[in-house]
């Protein structure tokens, strides 16, 4: 007889749809996304890779203070955004810039944070994307709360909350899963297991059979998916979203992937991992994999590929242009958004800065 646990247990191996070399469709337990979904995913993936490359270049030029790259993880990024409907919400972390952009947010606005102008540069309501969080796993609870609010209001909204493997050790991860399960809240918890939390490998994070197995203790079904297989991630996340929307409660998906670059530009990855490991993952690159497949299927030719690349190039130009124009942020932002109305004390402090600026511009020595 089948037990309750059988319904919750992830598969022993991550689910995959297309073989690592992109030549074959695997006999999988999951549905292959339709051709147009795959092509849209591919175009978004090309953009995501271009975004990562562009950001990396901008860090080197000193235009961005920092960039936690998702190079190598772009299939997860893109699928997280594409699996959602307009009414749904995405809760990203610092690593999920490409997912935020895939959801439709202007990359220049996304980079406001990394550039140092402000903490969140985009309007979260417009695209239903929460501001990216840095304290690990905290946003998972916000996703549960938002989905709970939507549920109370009779909306069909699903919240997709992203986190890394390291974040699954945090208390908030466990509290979020438990809350969501107890309240049967429509949330998809999507763990991008990229094998490292800064320098600490997965083995130091958890000895569970997989991170998806962590759902069982909470009564949440877990699923493992090959995070470098765009078709598989799209399929698994889409069905998780559909289940959550249909009243199936929270879902947990773990993607197995790899962070090809250092944690951020401030990190030296050679101190904790071998080049050979990184190179081994090169052969599993999500972009080449789907591209090989689409070409073999006759869905992609040089002409279409060139136009998709050109479109991504245009986005890169838009980013460079946007980051080249330096509009100094307004000092009033320091004081205007602490409370709905600035307190008397904040008004005084704002006046101090205004006075300093005034003196700066009237001081004839200031220009020297």
């Amino acid at each position: 007889m089948k037990s309750v646990i059988d319904d919750l247990l992830p598969t022993d191996e991550p689910l995959a749809c297309i073989s690592a070399d992109g030549t074959a469709v695997l006999d999988s337990q999951i549905d292959r996304p339709n051709d147009s979904a795959l092509l849209a995913g591919y175009a978004a993936l090309v953009r995501a890779r271009r975004l990562n490359d562009q950001a990396y270049a901008l860090v080197r030029q000193g235009r961005l203070a920092v960039y936690p790259s998702s190079h190598g993880q772009e299939a997860c990024q893109v699928a997280a955004a594409l699996a959602l409907d307009d009414e749904d919400w995405l809760f990203p972390t610092y690593r999920d810039t490409a997912a935020v952009v895939a959801r439709g947010v202007d990359p220049v606005e996304v980079f406001v944070l990394l550039k140092g102008d402000w903490h969140s540069g985009y309007d979260p309501r417009r695209h239903r994307v929460a501001p990216a969080t840095t304290p690990l796993a905290t946003q998972l609870l916000h996703a549960v709360g938002l989905a709970h609010a939507a549920q109370l209001r009779g909306e069909k909204t699903v919240a997709m909350a992203l986190c890394g493997d390291g974040a699954t050790s945090e208390g908030d991860f466990h509290e979020a899963l438990n809350f969501a399960a107890v309240f049967k809240t429509p949330v998809v918890f999507f763990v991008q297991n990229n094998e490292y939390a800064i320098s600490v490998p997965l083995a130091r994070q958890s000895v569970a059979p997989s991170l998806a197995h962590k759902g069982i203790g909470y009564g949440i079904p877990g699923q493992r998916v090959d995070g470098n297989d765009l078709a598989a991630v799209l399929s698994v996340l889409s069905s998780a979203v559909a289940k959550a929307r249909a009243g199936g409660g929270p879902q947990l998906v773990e993607a197995h992937t790899y962070r090809m670059q250092a944690h951020t530009n401030a990190d030296d990855a050679t101190r904790y991992r071998q080049d050979a490991d990184v190179e081994a993952w090169l052969t599993r690159d999500p972009l080449t994999r789907i591209e090989t497949f689409l070409r073999a299927e006759g869905l992609l030719d040089d002409e279409l590929a060139a136009s998709i690349t050109a479109e991504a190039e245009e986005m890169a130009g838009h980013i460079r242009g946007g980051l080249n124009t330096d509009v100094p942020p307004d000092y009033r932002h320091l004081f205007d958004h602490v409370y709905a109305q600035p307190t008397a004390q904040l008004q005084e402090q704002s006046a101090v800065v205004a006075d300093e600026l005034e003196r700066d511009t009237t001081d004839p020595e200031a220009d020297l």
Binding site: W118, H119, S120, D123, P124, R125, A130, P131, T133, P135, T138, L140, L141, H142, A143, V144, G145, L146, A147, H148, A149, A150, L152, R153, A159, G171, D172, E175, A176, N178, F179, V182, H333, D336, H337, V338, Y339, A340, T343, A344, Q345
Partner: protein, 321 residues
């Protein structure tokens, strides 16, 4: 006071569908101090509910609810048990408006039964106001009267900003006839509870009753003490407090919390900066020692006693004036 808080919650829930009350044991039990008594029965499990036992979870859930138009009022069972939620409070509740330049905010009320004087065992008597007051983006209020318990809680729930609402445990059972129809005081206003001309006692929350008592005794000895109830720690009402201190030229700040790096220290600094030339003596503090809250049989040493307040008043260099 507990009943006034209960009435405030009931009235707010009746007036506004988006007000949700949740936390540990707040449902059918009505909270360990019975502040949420009857709300679950009256408004149902969607509006007033028990959560799993996890403080960070409670506050984190409230952030998401508030982002999507709900007005959460959460209960932390005791002061020291709110610490697991501290990261959510500091990193998200307090900052969401600022991080998004006003596009999102997290208006909510975090109710914390706080401070001692009830013979409670450790972890049930912390005065945690300074932790919250030090965090920009939060309002921090504490009622000392039954009327304020009702009015301030209504104001807190209506506030567009998150409010840490500190309920002095030892005042839960204080009684007072209250006219609930009187206008709700805005957050950010201190009040003069007793007029006086010789010195000003500045107190808040659980320190207010001993301050009033001290003023009463001093009056019998011919000293006229004014008593100010701060009520709103953040935003702080410099105007009312400083006006009072200038009128008397002497001041003592009374608080139960540990004195080092405390709200009381902040008040002394503010008063000194603004009223220096009106002061006949340095501003004194009557505060808790810099020790973890003591066990019940020793707690009376930690609390601001009437005697200590009167001693501090006597120290205000009267002979020089």
């Amino acid at each position: 006071m507990a009943q006034a808080l209960n009435q405030a919650l009931r009235d707010a829930m009746t007036d506004d569908d988006s007000v949700l009350v949740f936390g540990e044991d707040v449902g059918p039990l009505g909270g360990v101090f019975r502040v949420t008594d009857g709300l679950n029965a009256e408004f149902g499990d969607k509006r007033c509910f028990d959560t799993p036992l996890a403080e960070s979870g409670i506050v984190g859930l409230a952030v998401g609810l508030a982002m999507h138009g709900m007005r959460p009022v959460v209960e932390m069972q005791f002061d020291a048990f709110a610490y697991p939620a501290f990261e959510q409070v500091v990193s998200h509740v307090a900052k969401l408006r600022n991080r998004t330049r006003g596009a999102l905010s997290a208006p909510m009320v975090i109710r914390v039964p706080f401070a001692g004087g009830i013979g409670g065992v450790e972890h049930h008597c912390d005065s945690s106001e300074a932790y919250y007051a030090h965090t920009p983006g939060l309002h921090v209020v504490t009622p000392a009267t039954v009327a304020d318990a009702y009015g301030l809680l209504r104001a807190a729930i209506a506030s567009p900003d998150p409010v840490v609402f500190l309920e002095p445990k030892k005042l839960y059972w204080s009684k007072e006839e209250v006219d609930l129809t009187r206008p709700v005081p805005p957050i950010g206003r201190a009040q003069v509870l007793r007029e006086g001309s010789d010195a000003t006692l500045i107190a808040y929350g659980p320190a207010v009753p001993p301050a009033l008592e001290a003023a009463e005794i001093a009056a019998q000895d011919g000293r006229s003490l004014q008593v100010i109830d701060v009520r709103s720690i953040v935003p702080f009402d410099d105007e009312t407090v400083c006006k009072a201190v200038r009128s008397t030229g002497r001041a003592v700040v009374v608080a139960e919390a540990t004195g080092f790096a405390s709200v009381a220290s902040e008040i002394v600094a503010r008063v000194t900066e603004r009223c220096f030339h009106h002061l006949a003596a340095p501003v004194r503090r009557v505060v808790g020692f810099d020790i973890p809250y003591p066990p019940p049989k020793l707690e009376h040493f930690q609390l601001p006693s009437v005697d200590r307040i009167l001693d501090a008043v006597e120290d205000l260099q009267w002979e020089d004036s």
